[in-house]
């Protein structure tokens, strides 16, 4: 389209128009209106700080106009920018209206100039960054990195308190005896013997051996059975030792015992 007609306008606008047309074919190549403005500003061939924003606005508007003629659909961004630039242009051209609020045309223009300069600066910075020596292109990392073995090391901790609590727990929990026979309701013969040896001295006459059952063992049937058996066994043992006499009047009658009087021997 660059071989398109060139109606003679003002001389300085011809170049701009040509540029604009060249740009239009490539409108997709722009990264938004600010990018387009930056590209347009290059046609002014001046330092960005000295750029004429008014002129730039006119260039941009011409660009948009041209795009419309060519029925190129511009994204909304570009049109919003065009509207804003038209507004800016009028502000810049008309003498300031003191009754009007908001920033002056010059302030707005200055900010736009700042934005353009900043964008350009970032582009330059990007270029310099990408021109740096790069890993994998100019300098290289180790070709065969050695695998670092990950060793999971577990350290166990315990405090003295843990230790003592553990010990105390062990030494005081009688009920924690899973596979040992439950001795809580077992009254051993040794225990019975010991108990009876202490008691027979006080028993004068025949006494039912059941009265020798330890206190607390009479009610629970399991305990009672165990204590009865061990007391009976202990009685036999004492009889064997010659310390007591045992008698039973008939089958299933109470078994009685008394201390063997040494005199009666």
């Amino acid at each position: 389209m660059s071989e398109d007609d060139t109606e003679s306008f003002h001389e300085d606008k011809v170049a701009a128009r040509l540029a604009a047309e060249a740009l239009i074919v490539d409108v997709d190549g722009f990264e938004g209106p600010l990018d387009l403005l930056l590209t347009l500003s290059r046609t002014q061939k001046v330092d960005l700080r000295k750029i004429s924003i008014l002129h730039l606005a006119q260039q941009y508007l011409a660009f948009v106009e041209k795009a419309k003629q060519l029925r190129i659909e511009l994204a909304a961004d570009y049109l919003v920018m065009a509207a804003w630039l038209a507004f800016l242009k009028s502000r810049l051209l008309l003498p300031p209206d003191p009754s009007e609020e908001g920033p002056s045309g010059e302030e707005l223009a200055a900010h736009l100039a700042f934005q353009l300069e900043r964008l350009q600066a970032m582009r330059d910075a990007a270029a310099r960054l990408m021109a740096r020596d790069r890993l994998g292109r100019d300098f290289f990392a180790r070709g065969v990195p050695e695998d670092v073995m990950r060793v999971r090391k577990i350290t166990y901790t315990a405090t003295l308190l843990d230790l003592m609590q553990g010990y105390a727990r062990l030494r005081t929990r009688d009920e924690f005896r899973p596979f040992v026979m439950d001795r809580e309701s077992v009254f051993t013969m040794e225990e019975a013997l010991e108990r009876m040896r202490g008691l027979i001295g006080y028993a004068g006459d025949w006494t039912d051996i059941l009265s020798y059952l330890p206190t607390g063992w009479e009610s629970d049937p399991k305990k009672r059975r165990s204590a009865t058996a061990s007391t009976f066994a202990a009685s036999l043992e004492l009889a064997k030792e010659g310390k007591v006499e045992i008698r039973q009047s008939e089958s299933f009658a109470p078994i009685e015992l008394r201390k063997k009087d040494q005199d009666h021997v």
């Binding site: 209106p33 508007l61 900043r118 960054l129 740096r132 060793v151 090391k153 350290t155």
Partner: protein, 234 residues
């Protein structure tokens, strides 16, 4: 599991916390500095990725001072074909850039970055931490999701702290991978940073009054070419 347990359990556990407890220093004497230098050398050599001083210290025997050993090591490799370089708070060994021409075989086919991605990356590097809206304000166009995703995926950028402004927007910062990629010790070494700062080009300047907010379409591609020309009446 049980074979992982080291003999000096208590010692190992303490080493981390009480790195410089005098009691232990006397128990275990640190290896001589020349030996520590060798150790740093071996570790950095073996690793493709930069290794932090902290990690060096944790891998070296108790009482070692990796930071000092690195100073010696760096000096030793000055002018060699391989260099000891600092990358952020980590260290690495890299071939000297002037010998890149020998390495065609090792050359990594780098993913071609789009212009948008390159610009976005530079803006993040020079302005970090920076929000997406601020990037868009600078570029004058909305940042496509794909661009940021690509940079995140390459691990050249990462999320930074949220900004204490309304909406608490997330920020982006560059990573150690980025520094390594471009041979930078830290972001202060970015080319031209001082000049840009001096020129006031790195400060955020709010637009006066009624500037159009450029690129505030915050999701999707910039070219949402819905014919909205009817909105425009000039």
């Amino acid at each position: 599991m049980s074979e992982d347990i080291e003999k000096k359990e208590g010692f190992g556990a303490e080493a981390g916390d009480a790195a410089d407890s005098g009691a232990e220093e006397s128990l275990f004497e640190a290896p001589p500095m020349a030996e520590q230098e060798r150790m740093c050398e071996a570790i950095l050599f073996a690793s493709a990725e930069p290794v932090t001083v902290k990690e060096l210290n944790s891998r070296m025997p108790h009482g070692c001072d990796a930071a000092e050993a690195l100073v010696h090591l760096r000096k030793r490799y000055e002018g060699r074909g391989v260099r000891v370089v600092k990358v952020g708070d980590a260290w690495a060994m890299r071939t000297a850039p002037d010998l890149g021409f020998l390495m065609q075989k090792e050359m990594i086919e780098t993913r071609k970055l789009s212009r948008a991605a390159i610009e976005t990356l530079a803006i993040i590097a020079y302005h970090q931490p920076i929000t997406r809206a601020e990037i868009e304000e600078i570029r004058g166009v909305s940042v496509s999701r794909g661009t940021v995703d690509q940079l995140l995926e390459m691990e050249w950028i990462r999320f930074g702290r949220r900004k204490m402004t309304p909406g608490r927007p997330v920020t982006f910062v560059v990573t150690q991978v980025f520094l390594d990629q471009f041979g930078l010790e830290n972001t202060r070494d970015l080319p031209g940073l001082k000049e840009l700062r001096a020129a006031g080009l790195l400060e955020s300047r709010p637009p006066p009054g009624t500037m159009p907010t450029l690129g505030d379409g915050d999701e999707g591609e910039e070219e949402s070419s819905e014919g909205q020309s009817e909105l425009f009446e000039d």
